[in-house]
Symmetry: C2
Subunit: 236 residues, 2 copies
């Protein structure tokens, strides 16, 4: 019993540095999303540039997480729950890295949008959507740290709100494009921005599902209907 | 020496079933892409529906790969190159699963597009792009099976062609939208289809990079400039 406890806590210690990297990655991704959306709203090209440069730090952290996880596996030969934890960490860091890429792409497009006539209400709507996704990501990582399957399940449900926001924006941008062809290029960028933020929401959901897998040992059932319905939008 | 060979081949045998699953996944993803693009060109809703249904088989294979890799790690406690192989397999199957999702989305949008006036030349261009990406994916997986770093490096370079095709299509669809607002909804779907195929190309590149990592022990340098320049496209 005592030796069991010792092994577990020793393994947890081995993973401490990885957990710290994951939390740091999460913080950087939330910041990148927030700053990219703010740069877009305030047309601040310097801030957008900064977001793009900071993405490298997120990429580097993912590489470090992968290297450290490989080191821990080689060192400890974990099995069962411990092994599951390490494999989960690798997947979570991949989701965070992809989310960072999406924030970087938002920042790129924000620089282009700042040279075009603004689409009324777009920047505020995008920022609200980004804010919702930031919180989702934060809660998904909190669920991971606290091994809180209930919070993870809540994150999965809340991603539906993001999908609804996206569906509404998709229709709105389409309307702007049809009303005035001069809006088309700007709205194309806004479409891709909204889609990318929606994808970060999907990654928060993926992280939440990993947490549920970690805690319960099995992946959640397909409880939530996929909310991006825009693939089906037909002739208006 | 003899015992070394024995250990290696025993580990390879453990991975045989996983390798078979990866090849099966790759075949299913190539088929899904090909059929989705064909369904779009021939406006064949039944074929599109079939692509959507077949995606579940790809998802199931990814779960099986993950489970089998965890089993092999627990059983063999692999280190160094063997461990690297297992972790690579997990990442490759994740890339294939995502690629399958993109093919499924193409099939969904193809069903919607079949109800709209066709955009001249679009279906053929999309199918050509899909074909190029299928070959890229095939070569990336061949590089993996043969541990061929040179072929993997070639895949990375060839992904630039896909990016060029995407950039050209992006501009073309934008022109159609501006010329006639009745094209806007169809072109929006075409934009997302082209982007999704381009993303499958990125996954082929990711697989190629994993192969290079597997063979050489380090990730390739940033040798290739990111080719999707459409984030920067400004006022026409």
């Amino acid at each position: 019993m005592n030796s069991d406890t010792h092994i577990v806590s020793s393994f947890d210690r081995d993973l401490e540095s990885v957990q710290a990297m994951i939390m740091k990655m999460g913080g950087l991704v939330e910041e990148a999303l927030s700053n990219a959306a703010r740069a877009m709203e305030t047309r601040d090209d310097e801030l957008a540039q900064q977001v793009r440069e900071n993405d490298r730090a997120i990429d580097t952290l993912e590489e470090q997480v992968n290297a450290e996880c490989a080191r821990v596996i080689a060192l400890r030969s974990p099995i069962a729950a411990d092994l599951r934890t390490v494999l989960t960490v690798i997947k979570i860091s991949a989701s965070l890295e992809r989310s960072g890429d999406f924030a970087k792409n938002l920042a790129k497009r924000s620089t282009v949008l700042s040279q075009m006539a603004p689409i009324p209400g777009a920047a505020i709507a995008i920022r609200r959507m980004a804010k919702t996704v930031e919180l989702l990501l934060k809660d998904a990582l909190d669920a991971y740290i606290q091994r809180d399957a209930a919070l993870a399940a809540e994150v999965r449900q809340r991603d539906a709100e993001v999908d609804q926001m996206y569906n509404a924006l998709f229709r709105e941008f389409l309307t702007h494009m049809m009303e005035d062809p001069r809006n088309i290029t700007a709205c194309m960028h806004l479409h891709f921005i909204a889609k990318n933020i929606e994808r970060v929401g999907d990654h928060a959901t993926t992280i939440a599902e990993q947490v549920i897998y970690l805690v319960t040992g099995s992946m959640p059932e397909e409880g939530r209907i996929k909310g991006d319905e825009t693939s089906y939008i037909g002739v208006e």
